[in-house]
Symmetry: C2
Amino acid sequence: MIKVAVVGYGNIGKYAVQAILAASDLELAGVVRRQVRDDQRLSELAGIAVVSKISDLEQVDVALLCVPTRSVPAMASAMAAAGINTVDSYDIHGDSLVEYRRQLSEQTKQHGTVGVIAAGWDPGTDSVVRALMEIMAPRGLSFTNFGPGMSMGHTVVVKALQGVEDALSMTIPVGSGVHRRLVYVKLKPQADFAAIKQAIQADPYFQNDETHVFQVGSIEAIQDVGHGVLLERTGTSGRTANQRFKWEMRINNPALTAQVMVAAARASLKQEPGAYTLLEIPLLDYFPGQTDELIQHLV
Amino acid sequence: MIKVAVVGYGNIGKYAVQAILAASDLELAGVVRRQVRDDQRLSELAGIAVVSKISDLEQVDVALLCVPTRSVPAMASAMAAAGINTVDSYDIHGDSLVEYRRQLSEQTKQHGTVGVIAAGWDPGTDSVVRALMEIMAPRGLSFTNFGPGMSMGHTVVVKALQGVEDALSMTIPVGSGVHRRLVYVKLKPQADFAAIKQAIQADPYFQNDETHVFQVGSIEAIQDVGHGVLLERTGTSGRTANQRFKWEMRINNPALTAQVMVAAARASLKQEPGAYTLLEIPLLDYFPGQTDELIQHLV
């Protein structure tokens, strides 16, 4: 049995616990969270080791870092130094990801551990689909259309504005990679809706998208973790144009992210020391079981 | 430059030549085909080395085996013995594939070569999608819906019947993995259409599917290499049900198969000796170029 710890017990951490318990080859080593008083302990964690430092758990093969992206690199580095494999869903694309991979690659090789990074759905499984589409048709255009679903990043920006008590930013796909933003705000008493609306529309996170702002009495009443994506590519294989590909999914966002991280935990134990994105690991490594049976079933 | 030879010059071989010529990191070493007289040489192969034995080509790093599936295992084995990597689109699923992989695995390891097998679209890239869907939602049902498009296997069965001059078997998706067969036959003079229709519907290839048979004056007039697939999965991530995934493509069949084989040729040079399905190779290995740039672009 592979012993997996969940670090952080927010949305993704909760679903990660469920996914570990549902896997026959994995064992939940425990949950690492900020110190909580005994009377704040959650009944769903009864019988599960809950600690504030991972070193308080007996044996951990892999730690799932279910913490905000900004905390991930330092935490992954500390885990590597402690000889523990890590999996995260680091979600900033581009330079930042390349730099994080480079640093963690050095640290993991030094300590003989493995880090699987950006192991969510975008970046993550969507990246796998984008790569597959380009393998099949090397020339052409791909479009990633997100939603409808809640954007964590945009929601955080709105929540930070003065006068906003709670907020929700929805991403609506308009097509060909263009998105509309629907922002719902619950205001504090005496807050000026017109000024807040203007501030949102002028923010760099929103200024390039068509953004609509609505005032609501309750954010809780409209919140839902359903999300989705539509990936499209029209391209050329060899000299043959008009090759058309489409990937669509409608999913519970944190449940999917957690499930991908759990599969990556398993895969981490089959790699040489280093840091890996999902594109650098053979898909068969994410599965439990025998190679021949998997090939018979999946290929 | 990676030197790639095309073995067999049927439908897939023709498109493979185009895909190699379109790739900046590959060089066409030549085409291997049955002996042809000088006056039968195709103008499209002008300036390309066309030989009847691969040993007549100067240097070959990888051979694309664009020959019928039944000829693939023996040919792959001979290439391994000659120190040449191979890529094929072996298209029989299940036991047969597992056994072929096992045998070629031994031979390639003995000779220090690599064989990438079943590197078409199904088995092949569809297998990658099926695996990805199961990683994301380990419990649930997947359906593979083929077509509308021509089935090579079913067409060959009909062509072999007495009284049939030419034939075309189309696969039509009915939904949830069920298919309808539309069979078009051009008969020889004096052939009995009713008897042939009955023979087709009683054949093991057709007897479990709803099969319609039509008599036509020309097969050429209705033939088209357009094909497609719809892969669907509804499953559970952790304990969360109703996760929905869909992959759809509409493609030129031999052009796509050839392009996947060409990408696999590149990947073959990055693997340790052995035989591999697409599920056993990291997706990044199919691309030319630098890892950091690919991660920046695709992840």
